[in-house]
Symmetry: C2
Subunit: 248 residues, 2 copies
Amino acid sequence: MAETIQKIDRDSYEPAYAQIARLLTQEISSGKFRPGDQLPSEATICGRYGVSPMTVRRAVNMLIDQGLVATRQGKGTFVKGLELGRSTFALDELQSLFRDKETSRVRLIRSRIVPASEEIARSLDITANDRVIYIRRLLLKNDEPFLCHDAHLIYDPTRPIVEAEMDLTSLHGLFSGTGETDIKKGLLLIRSTLLSAEEAALLRVAPSTPAFRLEHTFFDFNDRPVSFGYFICPSERLSFSAKVGIWD
Amino acid sequence: MAETIQKIDRDSYEPAYAQIARLLTQEISSGKFRPGDQLPSEATICGRYGVSPMTVRRAVNMLIDQGLVATRQGKGTFVKGLELGRSTFALDELQSLFRDKETSRVRLIRSRIVPASEEIARSLDITANDRVIYIRRLLLKNDEPFLCHDAHLIYDPTRPIVEAEMDLTSLHGLFSGTGETDIKKGLLLIRSTLLSAEEAALLRVAPSTPAFRLEHTFFDFNDRPVSFGYFICPSERLSFSAKVGIWD
DNA sequence: AAGTGGTCTAGACCACTAT
DNA sequence: TAGTGGTCTAGACCACTTT
């Protein structure tokens, strides 16, 4: 028995709660605790590591947030099985594209004021044929066309946002979190589609190549839509991945 | 001044830390605090709501987790701008499909032992032409073909997982988190592709329709791959969406 | 030195579940 | 009644930044 009372390194830069979360995760990862099993009670863990309840609580909360365990008041803490519905896909690949300012450049293809189509009008909460600013850009990776970006902006001289969106560097800011202080929220949608003839030519691939279309709508702090657009990228150049379960 | 000392409802079922997080979020959402602005210090918030530091800390941690603010030790807490790279796409649509057992059914199309292709062998960490179990199923929504599922399983009589995977109801369990106690982790990949002739026929759409292909690889608690497969669904039937920023 | 975030304590009290 | 998770206190101490 004994089970060794002390395993926490109080001098570590890793906080006690993080150490405990890590140790618990390892015990689950190793198969010592299987899905459905009950973890030791929080009081037990307090005693085992010589920490106070709040510290254990925080560690357990981390595991809950990660979807690794679930607590049931009055009963205990139990290991959860894999849950595919919890999978989350991130835009890492796209983000790294824009982050690397050395190899990526943006070329303006088109920029004009046009009447809004039905789809655009619906997305921007305006009426069809209202004027919008239409911008098409090409993102180049190592001077090769990589993806295409279409944006449709509300045409309103009183709003300064337009200027920022016109800026060729604004795409970088959107991904890095710098700037864009006038946008409150955004809605993103991944679609699967075929490249149009013009898009295929721009991107230098065969027409009708399968592609991702990442739609985005942005809203200002008055919850009014300010822009609608989409990134288009041949499918072989991009993919969205997610890890679910325990990856050490 | 005054600024009203008490705004926390101690009798509410919503914990104090959650109430504070909600109030802070509202202040940001309303535009009172803009991206780049500094929030009141934690000590100030303690006084304003009459709670202890730990409670405020937990509220602030919630906002950090949501990507709404960032803290800088010794300086303060600051509101962050929109960060596209933080967008996360969930499998809500697929999950709800499988969750509804009333309208969704699974039909087994094919089930046989075949030699592994190069791609399958690579994914399952075996050598090409090793035998694998190949299963093709069709998911029906309201008795109409909705999506197709191919799975390739390690052929090993000593592992009982095969039986579970063969079960036509196993797909439901994967999404709901029930069962599947033998799978430790999974890797998912969204691709954009074209339907093959057979797939198009099965799904009753035109050939060469653009479609999503959701690949999945599952691993057991020894980190060995146990299955590789993919869901295929015409793009107009499915999309992946994400919300970023502040949605009240 | 003063102000900021960050961790942690050693309890207290409550709600829920089982026996 | 006893054991479980869940919240909260009223401080303490530390690390970092600014003045």
